[in-house]
């Protein structure tokens, strides 16, 4: 048997205890003298003194990052220094290092690229913010984010073509690089400038007019977003001439974007609500008042209810919904601000309009007959028109929010046709449901041919709209044939690849709710009753599912422009 140290086990236990205690005693301060005295000037200044401007920016000028690409070798110290010297959250980074690859086998080229906020001449983040949580400093031109003003709508993330603002879920706000403005204010260099071993990053004073002129000519960096949009002020300098085929390290990686479920619900249901009110207005023109009057109280209540649900859902998207009321301050530049205001008006008007139908009922219930007089039909009809009009304007604002991001999948007619298409499609489906449902509660309606004709017309219109809309959506797949790895090709690859399941769900539910079931209604013309309501309910459910999935894909399949990223795997 091997000999164990049992005879001195009492001592051994003591040694373990001693060593555990010793392990927990900190010794660095007591044992070693400190290098710098408490009040010394920043020692690092000797390295960065020439890397920050001595002079203030004059009128027409601003501060900007300048990157010497010949010196940037991809060590990424800038990213970690920024992280540590600014006390960011564990995973939070305000600077990134990407890489460009290109050239030929005989002359291959790679170039690492450090990038942060470009403190643009015309910052898209700032222009889009509904609460003015961004300001561009009048003297330095630094684009600063006001953390306590932010409501966490994240629209700036969609707006910035450089993927700069980063959302902090923990805080419910966005944060971003401020060029270490408080350091610059006292003559210290930003963290990235201080920490680059190769002095590749400096701050310089630039003339904004020059930046704008260069941006308009597209002078910036290969495989990067068009600088004309926001006029980024960072200047990338190199003595090399890059080959034409330089692409970012993440160029060929496509990955789904955030789905923003609250926005999906909000958009689809507001569009349903507006569509339903509009359908009602159109039916008013086409049919006799007494026919319309039979279903409008219920119909408008359904439309209003879903509209209010949509607006409620939208607050779930916000990081700090309690401050959502600030949204009016951005009206001058922000489509999001405008959307919020217009839909608020829509909600008010729609409540008023829908409420008016129930005044006679309330008068009967309470015995206050005056209530009956509060809703003259003409006034109500006028309000109805305002409801529909404000709703249409609201949808236009919604569409402009995405149009204004300049993301390829969201621009051109792509957003407008989707949003108004959803309004038409779901408005028809909802109206089909409410009108057939009404028949169950209104005795004798089955003999009314007007209702049969309404059902048929709504069904036919629904089929037409669905075919047109899905057809339009499918057009993105033509980009699969693009020779270039374009942004739309990437979206199409996502839709047919990683997101293929959702794409199928979208097509199947859309076809069931918008084509197959309406076809059944149109050709079999079932008698009004519970069975018909059942069919129209399924139409609405499927159509809604189809549009919700479409909107999910709208958010997830978009490929945002960005700076060249790191190697992706």
């Amino acid at each position: 048997m091997p000999k164990l140290a049992t005879e001195d086990s009492s001592e051994a236990r003591t040694l373990i205890d001693d060593l555990l205690t010793e392990q927990r005693t900190m010794t660095a301060v007591a044992k070693f003298s400190r290098l710098h005295e408490r009040h010394e000037f920043p020692a690092q200044a000797k390295y960065y003194r020439d890397l920050i401007p001595l002079e203030r920016a004059q009128t027409g000028q601003q501060y900007a990052f300048a990157v010497d690409l010949d010196a940037c070798t991809g060590c990424k110290a800038c990213v970690t220094a920024c992280h540590n010297l600014n006390g960011l959250d564990d995973e939070e980074t305000w600077r990134e290092v990407g890489v460009l690859f290109g050239g030929t086998t005989l002359e291959p080229v790679q170039q690492t690229v450090t990038t942060a906020c470009h403190h643009c001449v015309d910052p898209a983040c700032m222009n889009g913010c509904p609460v003015l949580a961004y300001e561009k400093d009048e003297v330095t031109g630094i684009v600063r984010h006001l953390d306590d003003q932010c409501i966490g709508c994240q629209y700036c993330i969609l707006k910035c073509p450089y993927d700069v603002p980063k959302y902090s879920k923990k805080r419910g706000i966005v944060r971003k690089c401020d060029m270490c403005s408080s350091r610059l204010a006292v003559g210290e260099a930003p963290a990235c400038v201080q920490s680059c071993p190769n002095e590749a990053i400096r701050i310089e004073v630039v003339n904004k007019a020059e930046i704008v002129a260069e941006a308009r000519q597209g002078i910036f960096l290969p495989d990067s977003p068009d600088p004309a949009y926001t006029q980024p002020t960072t200047r990338y300098r190199t003595t090399k001439t890059f080959p034409a085929n330089m692409t970012g390290g993440d160029h060929f990686r496509v990955k789904p974007e955030h789905a923003h479920p609250a926005l999906v619900v909000m958009l689809v249901l507001t569009q349903l609500s507006v569509g339903a009110f509009c359908a009602e207005m159109i039916l008013r023109v086409l049919y006799a008042t007494e026919v319309i009057a039979q279903f409008t109280p219920f119909h408008s209540l359904v439309a209003l209810g879903l509209g209010l649900l949509a607006i409620g859902a939208s607050t779930l998207h916000l990081g700090r919904p309690l401050y959502a009321w600030r949204a009016f301050v951005g009206l001058r530049t922000s489509w999001l601000s405008r959307e919020i205001i217009v839909f608020s008006a829509f909600a008010g008007l729609a409540s008023l309009y829908a409420g008016m139908f129930w005044l006679p009922f309330l008068a009967k219930l309470s015995g206050v007959t005056i209530l009956r007089e509060l809703a003259p039909p003409l006034v109500q009809r006028a309000i109805g028109i305002f409801v529909a009009f404000s709703g249409v304007v609201g949808i236009a604002c919604s569409a402009m929010i995405y149009q204004d991001t300049r993301r390829k999948l969201w621009t051109g007619a792509r957003t407008f046709l989707r949003f108004f298409g959803s309004a038409a499609l779901l408005g028809l489906a909802a109206t089909l449901f409410t009108t057939t449902a009404q028949a169950v509660f209104t005795p004798g309606i089955s003999s009314n041919t007007a209702f049969a004709s309404i059902t048929a017309q709504l069904s036919a219109a629904l089929i037409a709209v669905t075919l047109a809309k899905i057809g339009f959506e499918l057009m993105v797949f033509t980009h699969l044939r693009d020779v270039k790895f374009s942004l739309l090709k990437r979206s199409a690859l996502l839709l047919s690849g990683e997101l293929a399941e959702a794409t199928s769900v979208r097509a199947l539910t859309g076809a069931a709710g918008g084509i197959a079931l309406p076809f059944y209604l149109l050709f079999s013309r079932p008698a009004p009753g519970a069975a018909t309501v059942g069919v129209t309910a399924w139409i609405l459910v499927f159509a809604l599912l189809g549009e919700l999935t479409e909107r999910y894909l709208f958010f997830t399949a978009v490929v945002p422009p960005k700076m060249p990223g790191g190697m992706a795997a």
Binding site: L20, Q23, Q110, Q149, S195
Partner: protein, 735 residues
């Protein structure tokens, strides 16, 4: 205009410029020469210590609050890094706070699961099991695998404890995987393992030649020194890939994999034939030149051009650049060290420096850049290949000296050499090694032909892993896991690439029951029953004094370094500093007088005929697989770097394989698609990264991903026994 306070309040309610969220990011003057720091991380003191990742040995200024580290910045005036650090350095404190730190010993229970136990149990089992194995199979049947990541004092303790106290014969370190070649090359050429340079040489050369070194990524702070060079130097990079460093070079030679030895002999041939040698230097300070000159004549430019794939003109341009340089420095890293004929390749570089007289002067040298933070400490004090203090186990005088200094019986000092890492692994296969103690290395990930290693571990009767984390691939296979304190949680010294001793300090509390490796060794001595042998080994600082004595009269003599305080005060001290010498300069180099460490004072020209690669490509496996560093934010098997959320953002999350555009097109491999990479050992999946920076017929996979070493082939340099990670044959298939 005066604004009414109420208006102000309303206006700030509508548009808030300040508040709790804004205050989160407010910066305060950090004092202590720091400039502004995050207000909530304002230190009440600072101290400098050496980074614990790579061998650059950067000084980090630790920001302390109540004696504990809260943040760090690179030390402005440290002679190594001059106020800069790479991302690993900036994030050095983060891995200490990881959730998977080993906070208690773990013992594998009857169900085969690792179960927390107390130290008492762990130590009893450790001694009981290893002693039982030794009783049954002999003392040499228990071996250890150590590391370049712990402090020098700890390495010395481990080496002395295991070999003098516990009777082990065989022990090696993961340093075998990174710089064994440089050790052997220097020892044979110079008479002692002595990298001659100081980092200032990067700044003083007019020609810098980098062979198999991606300095920009692997040693960014050394590259910083290159960029500080005011002489507009020619920068030559020899690397099959167009790396970041190759991009930054003025001349890049993308030679075929493993043709470096022929290239270097070809250059020597041109230089000698052209009469571009420093005849006086060769005559006075070297031996074996004539034989070497005769040998290289067969490496004609045509032959070398054929072997390397670079043109005759390019070859001559290379040679001429070296010839025209007044101060030429040659640098090599793993591209050389991890080759199948690595030692001769390193010596071919040394030969070029010797014959052109580029050694011993500022801006010159044949300079090996080391890998790990304390690989250099391991070279002198791990008691594995060398007897403590750079001595020789086979030399009786050396054994007596060491025994005398340590006050132990000379019989305790083995008179035979240890097996190298690969021989220990082979010993497991042959049932010669039945017990293994692995300290601060992750063999199950990093050892060449990984799957074979992992199968062998199941043959062991007892495997002990001592590590900061209980989750490493190796710890997961252990019978016993000992929880170790990490860098920053203990004291000691590291020696960097340029021979500089630097201090590690205790600035963070180790979690739970974790103990410094030093304290663990102390406990093991106690439980083994050999603690009398180590009564002087009370603290790392005491051991440093022992190390000084061991180094006396050696080329690595440090008897002139008084104590830790002196190291702290001087910004580290390079060896040698002999007793009585004063430290005149913070940057010192060797061989200024042309005297080397062989008995005749001369350096040797050493060479061999190039050998065929161990696994040439063929029709079935047509690609040469290159492995290496992926990014500056990844370190080896990633046990630490993967613990920082920021570092994780700076490298690809999944394994990828770089493949040339033409090869990808031929195999119909789309960029970013999944491919299978197969060797004779394994088949792994990876994302294809299609790029022209790798040449056709070659693919590259970074070593940091767990499956990479399933592909590599067990082959070793015959002199240094370092694994040849840099080339094996593979096939790439569409997944």
């Amino acid at each position: 205009m005066k604004i009414h306070p109420f208006v102000k309040k309303v206006s700030s309610f509508i548009r808030a410029h300040d508040g709790a969220l804004t205050q989160d990011l407010v910066l305060h003057p950090g004092e202590f020469g720091l400039g502004k720091v995050p207000a909530r991380l304002t230190p009440d003191d600072t101290t400098t210590m050496i980074c614990g990742f790579c061998s650059t040995g950067c000084g980090l200024n630790i920001h302390l609050k109540d004696g504990q580290a809260i943040n760090l910045t690179p030390t402005t005036d440290y002679p190594v890094n001059l106020g800069m650090a790479c991302p690993k350095g900036w994030e050095a404190l983060t891995p200490l706070r990881a959730d998977d730190r080993a906070t208690t010993p773990y013992l594998r229970n009857a169900n085969g699961e690792l179960e927390p136990v107390d130290w008492e149990t762990a130590l009893q089992v450790f001694a009981l099991r290893f002693k039982a194995i030794q009783d049954q199979h002999g003392p040499e049947s228990v071996a250890f695998l150590s590391t370049g990541q712990i402090c020098t004092e700890e390495m010395a303790f481990l080496g002395a404890l295991s070999k003098f106290g516990m009777g082990m014969i065989h022990g090696d370190g993961n340093t075998r995987q990174c710089m064994a070649t440089a050790v052997t090359a220097y020892k044979q050429s110079f008479g002692f393992d002595a990298p001659p340079y100081t980092y200032a040489d990067f700044e003083e050369s007019d020609v810098l030649v980098f062979v198999g070194s991606n300095l920009c990524i692997a040693h960014p702070i050394m590259w910083q020194r290159v960029l500080r060079n005011p002489h507009a130097p020619e920068i030559i990079v020899v690397d099959p890939r167009k790396t970041e460093t190759a991009m930054a070079a003025t001349q890049h030679y993308a030679i075929k994999p493993r043709s470096d030895l022929a290239l270097l002999y070809g250059l020597a041939n041109i230089i000698i034939a052209s009469g571009w040698i420093d005849r006086d230097y060769v005559k006075n300070h070297t031996s074996g030149f004539e034989e070497f000159a005769e040998f290289v004549t067969r490496f004609t430019s045509d032959v070398v051009s054929e072997v390397t794939g670079i043109s005759v003109e390019e070859l001559w341009r290379f040679a001429e650049t070296v010839h025209h340089g007044k101060r030429v420095s040659f640098w090599w890293t793993m591209g050389v060290n991890q080759g199948h004929e690595a030692t001769r390749t390193a010596q071919a570089i040394i030969n070029l420096a010797l014959m052109t007289g580029n050694i011993g002067r500022p801006g010159t040298g044949a300079n090996s850049i080391t890998g790990q933070c304390n690989a250099m400490g391991s070279r002198l004090f791990s008691n594995t290949t060398n007897l403590l203090g750079g001595h020789d186990f086979l030399n009786a005088t050396h054994r007596e000296k060491v025994a005398r200094v340590l006050g132990i019986d000379v019989q305790c000092v083995p008179s035979q050499n240890s097996w190298a890492y690969d021989q220990i692994v082979e010993g497991i296969a042959n049932d010669k090694i039945k017990g293994l103690w692995i300290i601060a290395t992750n063999s199950s990930h990093s050892w060449i032909n990984q799957s074979s290693f992992n199968e062998l571990t199941s043959k062991l009767d007892f495997l002990v892993v001592q590590d900061m984390y209980h989750t490493t691939e190796t710890a997961q296979r252990a019978h016993l896991v000992l929880p170790a304190a990490g860098w920053g949680e203990k004291e000691g010294t590291f020696i960097n690439s340029e021979r500089r001793y630097g201090l590690v300090k205790k600035v963070a509390r180790a979690p739970g029951q974790a103990l410094s490796d030093f304290n663990i060794f102390k406990l093991i001595a106690q439980y083994w029953g050999c603690s009398e042998m180590f009564t002087r080994w009370s603290s790392p600082e005491e051991v440093f004094q022992i190390m000084k004595e061991l180094s006396r009269e050696q080329p690595c003599d440090i008897t002139g370094i008084a104590d830790y305080q002196m190291l702290d005060r001087c910004g580290g001290v390079q060896w040698p500093l002999r007793s009585g010498e004063t430290l005149s300069c913070s940057e010192r180099r060797l061989f200024a007088d042309g005297t080397f460490f062989h008995p005749d004072g001369k350096a040797k020209f050493l060479f061999s005929e190039p050998r065929e690669v161990p696994e040439p490509t063929d029709d079935e496996y047509p690609f040469t697989l290159l492995t290496g560093r992926g990014s500056s934010s990844q370190w080896h098997t990633q046990t630490r770097t993967s613990k920082s959320a920021v570092l994780r953002k700076l490298y690809p999350q999944n394994i990828y394989v770089e493949i040339n555009t033409a090869d990808a097109e031929r195999l119909q491999i789309a960029p970013s698609s999944q491919v299978a990479v197969c060797s004779r050992r394994a088949k792994i999946m990876a994302t294809a990264f299609v790029t022209n920076t790798v040449q056709p017929g070659q693919v590259f996979i970074p070593m940091h991903y767990a499956t990479a070493n399933q592909l590599t082939v067990s082959s070793f340099d015959p002199h240094s026994r370092q694994p040849a990670y840099k080339a094996c044959a593979v096939r790439v298939e569409k997944a």
